[in-house]
Structures are given as C-alpha cells and as structure tokens.
Amino acid sequence: MAEVSLTTEVLQYVTNGVAKGSTYALMAVGYTLVYGVLQLINFAHAEVYMLGSYFAWYQAKWAGYLPDSKGARAETVPLYMVALFVAGAMAACALAGMLIERLAYRPLRNAGRLAPLITAIGVSLLLQYGGQVVFGTEPKLFPTFAETVVYDAGGVKIPNTNIYIVVTSLVLMLGLTFFVNKTRPGAAMRACSHDMRTARLMGVNVNATISLTFAIGSALAAVAGVLVAMDQPAITPLMGVRIGLKAFVAAVVGGIGSIPGAALGGLLLGVSESVVSGLWKPVYSEAVAFVFLIVVLLVKPSGILGKSVREKV
C-alpha cells in the first residue's frame, strides 16, 4: 500500500467526522427542540434513539431479513423496504416520544424545573434497563441495509454508508429548518419557545405543540438510530448512552435552543473526535466533547450560536 500523505489522512478523518457529526447533529436537535420549548433536558432522548434501532431491527426480523443463526449477514434489504423500516421506526419513536412527554413530563409541567429533570433521568434509566429485559443484553446484529461500497476520492476513502448518513441528515435538517420557520405548526413551536402563556393567548394549542415537538425530535432520533446501526451493526439497549451524551454536549456547545447551533455543534464535535482519534489516540477522542464543553461554558456560556440575552430559540 502506498504511503498516505498527511493531508489525505487528515481529509480522511474529516470526512469520517462529518458523517459521525451528522448523526450527533440529528440527535442534538432533539435535545434543542425540547429544551427550546420546555427548558427541559430530555435525557430519555438517547433511549428513543436506541428504540429507533430496535424498531427497525424488529421490522427487518419480521420481514425475514435478519442474519441466520451462524451470524452470516442475510441478503441486502431492497431500498423500498429500508424506506419502509425507517418510516416505521420514525412513527414508532414519534409515538414513544409523545408518550414519554404525556406520561412523565406533562404531569410535572408546573412543578418547576428540577422535578422534570430528575424524571427525565428516571425515564432514561427505565428504558435502558427495561430495554435489557425486553430486548436482551446480547448485542443484536443489524441487517445489511446497504451493500458496502467504498468510493475513492483522491485517496480519501468514502464508504457509501457515510454518504447516506450525511445526505439524509442534511435533508432532514433543512426540512426541519423550513418546517420551524415557514409553517403554521412551526410558528406555534417558536411562539411556545418564546413564551408559552402568551402563545396560548394567541390561540396556540400548547399541549399539541409540545407533543409535536417531542414527535419530531424523536422521529429524527429514530433516523439517527438506523443510520448508525447501518454503520456499526451491533445494537444494544445501552447504545444510546454515549451518543446521547455527545449529542447533548453538541447541543450545548452550539447553543441549546438553536437548531443551526445543534447542527454546528454536532459537526464540530464529530470532526474533532475523528481527527483526534486518528492522529492521536482513539481514547482521547472521548475527552474532546468535554474539552469543548468546558471551553464553551467558560468563553460563551450560551453556546456558539446561543443568544446571550434571556431567550430560548
């Protein structure tokens, strides 16, 4: 194998990092949307991501696309089936997210900020350990949603899964931005994030808007769950813990409450982790998120794109 130049190597890490960062970004908007409206850090969001992978896995299983008992991966799933599974996982996660809000957070709507926060941690743990009971603790092998093809761009290797991840995330993030800024339900979400009581006086159905916010964030987490599982096909009930933490940090670094901030924070984090891990040591990449967090909290506590005045989205 030919010697790879440092530039190529760095470019390689950056492109890998963009893919990783895209999944962080998809997850980070879920934290940011809910925080924007409720000032609640929805720790259970990471577990909704996990559920997304499992929902897709079960659909693939029922459709007969799972690896056989010897662990050999089965035939590739046709594209329309993949689309169906992703849509199914999105719908199921949207429902799960709305249920979590309805059952765990809404009863505490007027109970201050600490009680819902602790409840969120509780829901997160419940789903982690409930997931181990229901799905088992053994990792499950995710079906092959796309035959791996690696493209070569001047020495930089780009696997097709990374392209899927980046394109899907980009389309969804743009779609979300359009939805929030240009549609009626989007206007309701923005109004609620500014001032829920006044939003109600404008005729906004606040409960429905909050449900919608959870549904959207959760559906995006489902997509992230499927995209990551395509890349790293072993899924476990605890798979949400790390990415959840990273995505949360990404949201805070970018400026919690801000959608472009979540995208930026996710990308920054993904790229830096990948570069640090490649040029230095993989274990150090785990620290990158927290270095970012500390630096941002010291320099600009509201996050890179966060507004320093008291406002939420």
């Binding site: 006044t198 109600r200 404008m202 005729g203």
Partner: protein, 239 residues
C-alpha cells in the same frame, strides 16, 4: 334586558388555599365597554384568566355567547373571538413588530383578510408601522401596549379583554390608547377593560364593576359610579 355575550355567575376561584374570587358575578352585553376596577390584588387579572380558560373556577358559571366555557381550552376560545391583551403586554421581545402581529392571527387562515387587518392595525397605530421590522423588546412601554392591542385585534375578537392598558404609561400616552379603545368599540368590538386607574376607566366605559379582595363591591353605569361618594373616596382620590 339585552343578551349578555359574556357572563360570570357566582364564580369562585382558588390558588391553592388562597380564595381569589369570591362569588363574582358580572355580565358584558354585546357592543358594550365594561370596566372592572380595583386595587392591587383585588382579583382583576384572576377574573380575566378565568374567563379565557387559563384558570378553572371551583364553582360558578362562565358563559360566552350562550355556551358554558368552563372547560373550554384557551386556544379554542381565541378561535371563537374571545381574545386577551394580557397584563404586562406579553410582547414576544425577540420577534419583530410584524411577527408579533402575525402571531395574533394564528387561529386564522384567511390570508388576504389577515393582510388587510395588518394594514388596518398599522393605520390604527401609525407608530407601529414605522417600527414594523423592529424587535418587540426594543419598543417603549406605550408602543408595546399599542402592539399588544393591535395584536389582539389581529385575532378578530368579538370580545376583547384588556388587562391594565394604562399600566406604567405617561398620561398623554394613556389618553391616546384610550381614544383608540373607544374607536375599536365603535367599530363593533365588545370590550371588558381591567384597570387600576378608575378615573380613566370610568370615563371610557358604559358600565363598571368594582372589585375588592375578590368580591364585587359596586356595579352600575360608569357615569353613576363616578359620582358615587364611596367610589370617589376609595378609587378616584376625591372626597
């Protein structure tokens, strides 16, 4: 007797153990301006919040256009033309004047009519037209009050609830705002006006209720109440 468009009958409201409204009864007829006056903590804001569904009465009746609305959510009432400009104005500080106004039309889908009403709002308050693209939070108190009323009008109210429009405003600005309130009423909007400033409220309303610690003490035609020695002594700083 004319049909009331809004009516409270023996309404009791509690905040936990605090008994904030004690058997409040009042009615607002179509086309009227009715004022509700009283000092700090009398229960005026509580009355408005109960009317528009932000609070639920423990007992008593609230009827709007003949229907019991005690369990009707606020956003539904707004859609039915019961619209409030809240105490403290409730301006979205980070949205522009125009964005604030457009949110006032949230329940409506008739785009051309919304555009026409926006224009109408700017005619009613030319100050807002000049500041159309300015953030709500950068407006003066008086301008914010104008925006709050203009925004409520964007919801095409049948009954407009105004909570202390004179709060913190200079007398001249208050005069201007009340002149506009008169005009809005002349154009057919029924108004329930909450005020601490009894003087101006009685001048600009047909009838009035005086609230004290959650109970209606007096009510009657505003001109009569202005000459009532008890009201004069307690609320008009005379006698």
């Amino acid at each position: 007797m004319p049909e009331p468009v809004l009516e409270l009958a023996e309404v009791n409201v509690f905040y936990g153990a605090v008994h904030a409204l004690r058997g409040v009864s009042l009615r607002v007829n179509e086309g009227e301006v009715v004022s509700l006056i009283g000092g700090n903590g009398a229960g005026k804001t509580t009355t408005l919040a109960t009317i528009c569904g932000l609070l639920r009465p423990r007992s008593g009746l609230v009827t709007y256009r003949g229907a019991d609305v005690r369990r009707t959510p606020t956003h539904v009432l707004v859609g039915q033309g019961l619209v409030m400009a809240p105490e403290g104005r409730g301006i979205f500080p980070n949205l522009t004047v125009e964005e604030n106004l457009r949110l006032g039309a949230y329940t409506r889908r008739d785009k051309p009519a919304i555009a026409a009403d926006l224009k109408r709002g700017f005619e009613l308050f030319p100050r807002l037209a000049e500041r159309r693209r300015q953030k709500g939070g950068t407006l003066s108190g008086g301008e914010q009050q104008m925006l709050s009323i203009a925004r409520a009008l964007m919801g095409r109210p049948k009954v407009l609830l105004l909570d202390e429009p004179s709060l913190g405003l200079a007398p001249l600005v208050t005069q201007a705002i009340f002149a506009t309130i008169d005009q809005i009423n002349k154009e057919g909007v029924t108004i329930l006006l909450v005020e601490q400033n009894a003087n101006i409220a009685l001048k600009h309303s047909h009838r009035a209720y005086v609230l004290e610690t959650g109970e209606v003490q007096f009510n009657g035609a505003s001109t009569e109440l202005r000459n009532d020695p008890r009201v004069k002594a307690a609320y008009l700083g005379e006698g």
